[in-house]
């Protein structure tokens, strides 16, 4: 697909986009390749990353045109994320394209956007977001990381950030920190003084995680110091809507894999899918997936502000809850449908299971997302 300059893609364009991403991934990032790169030093396939940028423009989809992007929205990004989720493609898509670019957009800092969005859109700058601290809680205020402004109006950061996606290898960190004016977001460049980046052993080998230690590290304020909470809340809507797309893409792969196996695997002289136990398990997976798909679709439409869509805060929170539960459920049942083979390391089911649990917890987990849903409604 050649990325056009219209802001809303039609059904046909969306289908073209989907097929472009799917065929590129089928070619270059099949399961055996995923397993290879997930155990490599880098953790992803740099050439796939480049091709997705150059041939399809995935990294640029939701970046505004005047910042070097395609100017599409969450709906279009969601189509690509479904495919990336489906194939469990390792790489800094979520961290850089969703969280990094998303934070820049949420903070509405024109000069920062002008400086960094073109690089992110081109896939040449890798950004990520650092919010969670050593207590492991997702929050939007009350950070122990402190930002201090010196006489020359330049900022330094002190603190520790944990569970940062794709921390190792990122070029640019958006760091949440408390300032005397309230919570703010700050940009820290890789290699900055007093910045230490460490990789952590992660549950999901296709989604790397690290830790930042900041000691008097120079940083640039992103937007107005004090705007951190609002920017993070706004970002959370976009990020969870994007995550929902990735979740339903991956969950659909699980369902398809389960159905294919249930049709072909024979026990007791019959394909196991002819037994109601297995058939109804698949039907339950289908039902949860349909609802999750609807929620993910509606969240993207809402974030894009389509006229007949519900409020973004509602739809994103609904999708975050429903898609997290659905993907976790479907990933579990996928193992059950496959029986013993589904429990082996060699079968992809466990990679989806790992991704499902990480997706469910990365923004705080059920306790947080259900409560957030009520808050979005003012309950």
């Amino acid at each position: 697909m050649t990325v056009t300059t219209t802001a809303i893609a039609g059904a046909e364009e969306l289908e073209d986009l989907r097929l472009s991403v799917r065929s590129l991934l089928a070619d270059k990032s099949d399961e055996s390749r995923v397993r290879e790169v997930m155990e490599s030093d880098l953790g992803y396939d740099a050439s796939v990353w480049r091709q997705l940028a150059d041939q399809v423009g995935v990294q640029s989809l939701a970046v505004p045109e005047h910042h070097g992007g395609a100017g599409f929205g969450q709906v279009e990004l969601g189509v690509a994320l479904r495919e990336l989720g489906r194939a469990l493609v390792p790489g800094p898509f979520f961290s850089s394209v969703v969280l990094g670019a998303g934070a820049l957009l949420a903070a509405q800092d024109e000069s920062a956007m002008a400086a960094h969005l073109p690089g992110i859109a081109a896939g040449t700058t890798l950004a990520t977001l650092a919010v969670i601290e050593t207590d492991g809680q997702w929050r939007t205020h009350g950070f122990t990381t402190r930002a201090r402004e010196d006489a020359e109006a330049s900022w330094t950061l002190d603190g520790e950030k944990s569970l940062v996606l794709d921390a190792v290898g990122a070029d640019l960190y958006v760091v949440a920190a408390d300032t005397p004016h309230g919570p703010g977001l700050f940009l820290v460049e890789s290699g900055a003084a007093g910045l230490e980046v460490t990789g952590l052993r992660a549950l999901d080998p296709t989604r790397r995680v690290g830790r930042l230690t900041l000691t008097g590290t120079p940083a640039a304020a992103l937007g107005r110091p004090g705007n951190g909470t609002a920017a993070l809340e706004h970002l959370l809507d976009r990020a969870t809507a994007a995550l929902a797309a990735e979740q339903v893409g991956a969950a659909r792969a699980c369902l398809e894999m389960s159905v294919a196996y249930a049709r072909q695997r024979v026990q007791f002289g019959r394909p196991i899918g002819s037994f109601q136990a297995v058939k109804h398990m698949c039907a339950d997976m289908f039902t949860r997936l349909e609802v999750a798909e609807a929620a993910a679709t509606e969240a993207a439409r809402a974030v894009d502000g389509l006229p007949d869509a519900p409020p973004a805060g509602e739809a994103a929170a609904v999708a975050h809850a429903v898609c997290s539960e659905a993907f976790m459920f479907i990933a579990q049942q996928t193992i059950q449908v496959h029986g013993g083979i589904g429990f082996t390391w060699e079968h992809p089911a466990h990679l989806y299971f790992r991704r499902a649990k990480v997706s469910q917890l990365m923004f705080g987990g059920p306790a947080v997302y259900y409560e957030r849903l009520l808050e979005r409604w003012g309950v």
């Binding site: 159905v259 249930a262 049709r263 019959r270 394909p271 899918g273 002819s274 037994f275 109601q276 297995v278 058939k279 109804h280 698949c282 039907a283 339950d284 289908f286 039902t287 349909e290 609802v291 999750a292 609807a294 929620a295 679709t297 509606e298 007949d308 519900p310 409020p311 805060g313 509602e314 739809a315 609904v318 999708a319 809850a321 429903v322 539960e325 306790a367 259900y370 409560e371 849903l373 009520l374 979005r376 409604w377 003012g378 309950v379």
Partner: protein
């Protein structure tokens, strides 16, 4: 943000196909509705605790005179619609229809949803929605002319005479006999779970015409005048205490052969076309007492009224119910949008039906938990004991119109392409079930 129920679009979303004729139709329909009905105030989804009717019933369960009055109002409104060209929007003109597209039909429904009009479900869900199309497809010309206009004018309510004590999930197991006698058929048997039968002028009966054939063959379908001698309708009391359904006993009922639907022994195919429309129509949303109670507005008002606004456990459970409920609403909206775009709906309707019963059951158990002991007897407190009606009604939603197990078979086999169970009784000749079956 105000607490209002998930919005149902009162105006159709971008009807792309043949939009100019649609626009004219919208204008015409709006004018008709403005003249004959009252526009519903917007924001009616808002619930003020303690205000309004305190009934949360999925089934009617009302005294017979109330029930009767509602049916009369439905007939009257259907007649008004019909007189103004909105009685059968998609129907052929020769039977009183408008010959417009299904999209026009949908657009009309969407428009009408914005007005306060009598609920015509008793006429439309089964009669117009399912039996009308079957008559159109399978009846003789004179039968079409005789019944279709009457049905769409609200004069003839039609019911299904399908299920039997021995033919529930296994509908093809019908044992009601139809024996040919010259130009008539003699019907004998018992039908059950027939909603609407106590109001109906017409029934569509599925009967065994040849027991020596395998069970899916040897079935013939008939249109039965419910006033014929030998047709006896008895109310069937369900667990809620009301009687929404009936048993219908057929004793030597003589039906003329011209009332046959489809060919002799080909009734299973006829029945399938009838049922196809059913699966799609169940599980939709409405504005009845259940939809009012199983809503964000009501349930959050309840959380507050029960003093649980700051109880994290109650909040968590409420959020779980509302997440599913809202997402199911999105699913239904998207199906509707697909239809309005002129595209065929996908298999999401079966998911929606399963979610519908899941959501209602979850909401009623959550409500029971929030209410606590006041659920065990009528203390007179608004919004407490009234939840019993729904609580007792929800088990039926997992059964009626196809059990959940049958729905899951259908999803597994027709949607996902999983193999059927090896059949054990599709080839053998049908033998009428004997008495030991209940």
């Amino acid at each position: 943000m105000t607490a209002s129920a998930p919005a149902t679009p009162a105006t159709p979303a971008s009807p792309t196909a043949s939009s100019s004729s649609i626009e004219a139709f919208v204008e015409e329909a709006s004018a008709f509705l403005d003249e004959h009905a009252t526009r519903r105030p917007t924001g009616t989804g808002r619930v003020v605790w303690g205000e309004g009717e305190d009934r949360i019933s999925y089934f009617g369960d009302e005294p017979p005179e109330v029930d009767r009055a509602k049916v009369d109002a439905a007939r009257a409104w259907q007649r008004t619609r019909h007189e103004h060209g909105f009685g059968w929007i998609t129907g052929p003109t020769e039977y009183g229809g408008r010959a417009l597209s299904p999209l026009h039909d949908l657009v009309y429904d969407q428009l009408e949803a914005g007005y306060d009009v009598p609920d015509t479900g008793v006429i439309s869900l089964i009669g117009l929605g399912m039996i009308g199309p079957t008559i159109l497809a399978h009846a003789r010309e004179e039968i079409k002319q005789r019944y279709l206009p009457a049905m769409f004018r609200g004069d003839a309510i039609a019911c299904q005479l399908f299920s039997e004590p021995g033919a529930g999930s296994d509908l093809a197991n019908v044992a009601t006999r139809a024996v040919r006698d010259g130009e008539e058929w003699v019907l004998n048997g018992q039908k059950v779970w027939t909603s609407v039968a106590h109001h109906a002028e017409l029934g569509m009966a599925v009967c065994r015409s040849d027991p020596s054939q395998p069970k899916h063959r040897g079935i013939t379908a008939f249109l039965v005048d419910m006033s014929l001698p030998g047709v006896e309708v008895r109310p069937l009391r369900q667990m809620t205490g009301g009687a929404e359904f009936n048993e219908v006993f057929l004793t030597d009922v003589r039906v003329p052969d011209d009332h046959r639907l489809g060919e002799v022994d080909d009734g299973w195919r006829v029945t399938m076309t009838t049922l196809m429309s059913e699966r799609a129509s169940v599980g939709g949303e409405g504005a009845g007492p259940v939809e009012r109670a199983v809503s964000r507005s009501y349930l959050t008002a309840m959380l507050e009224a029960m003093g649980l606004s700051r109880d994290a456990a109650a909040r968590r459970r409420l959020a779980e119910v509302l997440a599913d409920l809202t997402a199911t609403g999105y699913l239904n909206q998207q199906s509707l949008r697909t239809l309005l775009d002129g595209r065929a709906p996908g298999p999401e309707a079966s998911a929606s039906k399963l979610m519908f019963s899941h959501n209602l059951a979850a909401a009623s158990h959550l409500a029971a938990e929030m209410v606590g002991p006041r659920m065990i007897a009528e203390t007179g407190d608004w919004g407490t004991f009234s939840w019993n009606e729904l609580l007792l009604g929800t088990p039926a939603l997992r059964i009626l119109g196809g059990t959940e197990e049958i729905m899951k078979n259908i999803i597994g086999e027709r949607v996902l392409g999983l193999p059927k169970e090896p059949g054990t009784d599709t080839k053998a000749p049908f033998r009428a079930p004997t008495g030991e079956q209940s």
